[in-house]
Amino acid sequence: MLRLEKRPQPSRFWVFATPVLAVVLTMVFGGLLFAALGQNPFETIRTIFLDPLFSEFAWFYRPQLLIKGAPLVLIAIGLSFGFRAGIWNIGAEGQYIVGAICGAAVGLAFYPSELFIIFPLMVIAGALGGCLWAMIPGVLRVRFGTNEILVSLMLVYVAEQLLASMALGALRNPDGMGFPGSRNLAQYPAATSWINQQIGMHWGVVTAFIAVILAYVALSRHIFGFNVRLAGQSPRAARFAGVNPSLLVLVCMGLSGGLAGLAGLFEIAGPAGQVSIDFNVGYGFTAIIVAFLGRLHPVGILLAGALMALTYIGGEIAQSNLGLPIAAIQILQGMLLFFLLAVDVLTNYRLSWGRQVA
């Protein structure tokens, strides 16, 4: 009989091997799914996972990898602190939107000035916007004991309404002949986040890499990271160690909201360009998968963000070249998280054949 036996120590090997195994399993079962849809499974898997990097049009897709990966990584890094501490900010999408709106509003307010200070001010506004939006569920939890999962999630829909009203109202382009949407920030040199559009490089990519490094240092070397890990693993021990649980909630919410807001600002001032009704595409939700796929570890998140970006781009290729429905791609991404969580058990348990012992 197949049994699970608890390991005395978490396995070092499986900590690293489970994400790889999850990707392999996703490919296998994804292949079966595509076969069931009447596609050649090998060709589909190749299209999704390899074509963005190695096909003849890879020159077009590779910059996309940075563009799609950067916001995912940036948001996931912020979320990983809260998730490690047992603070569940599910509403990064809303913080992303609000950060984008605030940052864009600052940039648009200065139009058409070419002051050097405009972009830095936008960055600050974006971070603050996301941070304050995340503070709402944070403060409500600390003060009234509300559930931050529900509140942060519901605030996503509030943020979407806010975005629509901004695109149609206050931030609408006065020269846009009545069409919804703001001026294009990507074409406003003092306000754009682009560094080099040809290779997909913008300030969000830079910030994402910096965030990975800082998060790594904070988690492995700094007492703050230690307290975050401690609070997640043993809340009672954390209180005994002197961690203030309320403060930790606010800091983690603020941090994840701030980074999500930054991601939104960089996106709206670069790849997206303008405040529009359908500006957000779900990075805030996908980043939750990225955070877990990366084991809440900064380097893991970097790799997971790249992988998720790959499936996005590969999915688009498969959609246009093979006529695969978008839902199939979303199922594939869902599978990835599902398999990861499922094989995760191997980190703390070992499989063994044999009869019941204890």
Partner: protein, 507 residues
């Protein structure tokens, strides 16, 4: 010679990486009270689980009344007449006594019938217990009686008891012992597992000593000194803590009407605790678990804040001070629950060292953890307190309870506290390690620190305390010099003894 009730022959059981039982053979005679002795991890639990059908041995045989006995699960063991009272009770708080007992039965009769049986058995064995009371309202001793009566209703031939007295007051222990003696006189054999050697000497006729999974000796506890038994258990000379007589120093910690509401539904409020703790003394606080021990530790460690003036430390009102500021000032604490409170199970010992020692040992610089220094500190604790582990990189949960306890207590003592509060410092720790911990606490006091030891082990408190006080329902009795206190006086101080009735033994 009589046929043994249960004969174990060459029982061996190995788990990955450890041999729990190695060729264990001994006999249990009908009606005898047989002690099973051994350090933590000596293989006592595995052995009794084997007898109770929870563990299958790799090799070896058991014979019950001379016939082969291979229980494949506890049902089979119970059917054969073997019953076990576990250290941790498996009772539902919201149900009454009779309902709880019915739950453990294969084919329970009507409630009224069970109630009548419970009354009959409780009367017969002097175990006062009302079948209609809700378990949630019972004391630990009364809960244990529920478990015992549940076993007795099966009319067992062999009753296994795992550390039964750890939760009892002296009076309750007396009641329990009378019951066990009566059972034994009626022919029920009892396999008695305990750390408390004096109890074993008072109760048992025969003892088997396990060390590292193997039988290392047998003795008649009535003829053997506790010290000799302890040395048999650990395989080396036992160091008995020595207490130096010294004059009391000045007051360093003063609780002035310390009161606090219960922190959660099952907590106990602290009520008007007033006591002065002096430099160089050990204040022992006794009491049955759940009378405010955890809350008192939390109030002193800073996990639970109180009005500032309720706690004065060196003329400073610290009731509102957070934990790390108290540590910096020299007030350290070690809570009872090791896993998840005093230590984080999934973190390494190095990380667990940082948990409380970061501030006082300077393990951080500008907020950055000095991992090298932390590792050095953890290694120091491991070495000084003989923590058995391959190294500080191992997760806390990989250590046995006793070893982790040594680490947790050692971590605080090595920080040279001026006041140390420990809750249950030697709970579940084997005799030699317990002696080492007690000695370390005494040494700390000898160096001028004030030590508050909260424990349910009265022998321990009598051994190391200068003054003794009892905690009962959140109130602390006035402390009295420990020297010369009798067991009866202590029992009265504890005040919480329920139903001080001893079995009516008909000789």
């Amino acid at each position: 010679m009589t046929t043994p009730l249960l004969r174990l022959t060459g029982l061996t059981k190995a788990y990955p990486g450890v041999v729990a039982n190695k060729d264990v053979s001994f006999d249990i005679l009908p009606g005898e009270v047989h002690a099973l002795l051994g350090e933590n991890g000596a293989g006592k639990s595995t052995l009794v689980k084997t007898i109770y059908g929870l563990v299958k041995p790799d090799s070896g045989t058991m014979a019950l009344h001379g016939a082969p006995f291979q229980p494949h699960d506890p049902h089979a063991a119970r059917a054969a007449g073997i019953a076990m009272v576990f250290q941790h009770f498996s009772l539902f708080d919201a149900m009454n006594v009779a309902e709880n007992i019915a739950l453990g039965m294969e084919d329970p009769p009507k409630q009224a019938q069970i109630a009548a049986q419970v009354r009959a058995v409780s009367d017969q064995y002097g175990l006062p217990l009302d079948p209609d009371r809700v378990v949630g309202d019972l004391s630990a001793g009364e809960r244990q009686r529920v478990e015992i009566i549940r076993c007795l209703l099966q009319d067992p031939k062999l009753l296994i008891m795992d550390e039964p007295t750890s939760v009892l007051t002296p009076q309750e222990v007396t009641i329990l012992f009378e019951t066990l003696r009566k059972l034994s006189a009626e022919g029920t054999a009892i396999l008695y597992i305990s750390h408390k050697l004096e109890e074993i000497r008072a109760l048992c006729e025969n003892a088997t000593v396990l060390r590292l999974g193997a039988v290392v000796g047998t003795c008649d506890p009535r003829q053997t000194s506790a010290r000799d038994m302890a040395e048999l258990m650990v395989g080396s000379k036992l160091h008995v803590p020595e207490k130096a007589d010294k004059p009391a120093g000045e007051t360093v910690l003063s609780l002035q009407g310390l009161s606090a509401p219960a922190p959660h539904r099952f907590g106990t409020p602290l009520r008007e605790i007033t006591v002065d703790v002096r430099k160089g003394e050990v204040l022992g606080i006794g009491g049955v678990a759940g009378n405010g021990q955890d809350e008192l530790v939390a109030a002193l460690s800073g996990e639970m804040r109180t009005a500032a003036a309720m706690i004065r430390y060196k003329d400073q009102a610290i009731g509102q001070m957070p934990p790390n500021a108290r540590r910096k000032a020299g007030l350290l604490a070690a809570p009872e629950e090791r896993m998840g409170h005093a230590a984080a199970p999934d973190m390494s010992l190095t990380e667990n060292a940082v948990l409380t020692a970061a501030t006082r040992q300077g393990l951080t610089r500008r907020g950055f953890v000095q991992w090298g220094k932390a590792r050095g500190f953890a290694e120091g604790v491991i070495k000084a307190f003989d923590v058995r582990t391959p190294g500080p990189q191992n997760a806390a949960r990989s250590l046995s309870g006793g070893n982790l306890q040594k680490f947790v207590i050692g971590r605080e003592i090595m920080q040279a506290p001026e006041v140390l509060i420990v809750n249950q410092p030697t709970w579940g720790v084997d005799a030699s390690a317990a002696a080492a911990i007690r000695q370390a606490l005494l040494d700390l006091a000898a160096k001028g620190a004030a030590v508050i030891v909260i424990s349910q082990d009265l022998d321990e408190l009598m051994e190391i305390s200068d003054r003794f006080a009892a905690l009962n329902e959140g109130r602390l009795s006035a402390p009295r010099p420990a020297k010369g206190l009798t067991v009866e006086e202590i029992g009265l101080m504890l005040g919480g003894a329920h139903d001080m009735e001893v079995a009516h033994v008909e000789a």
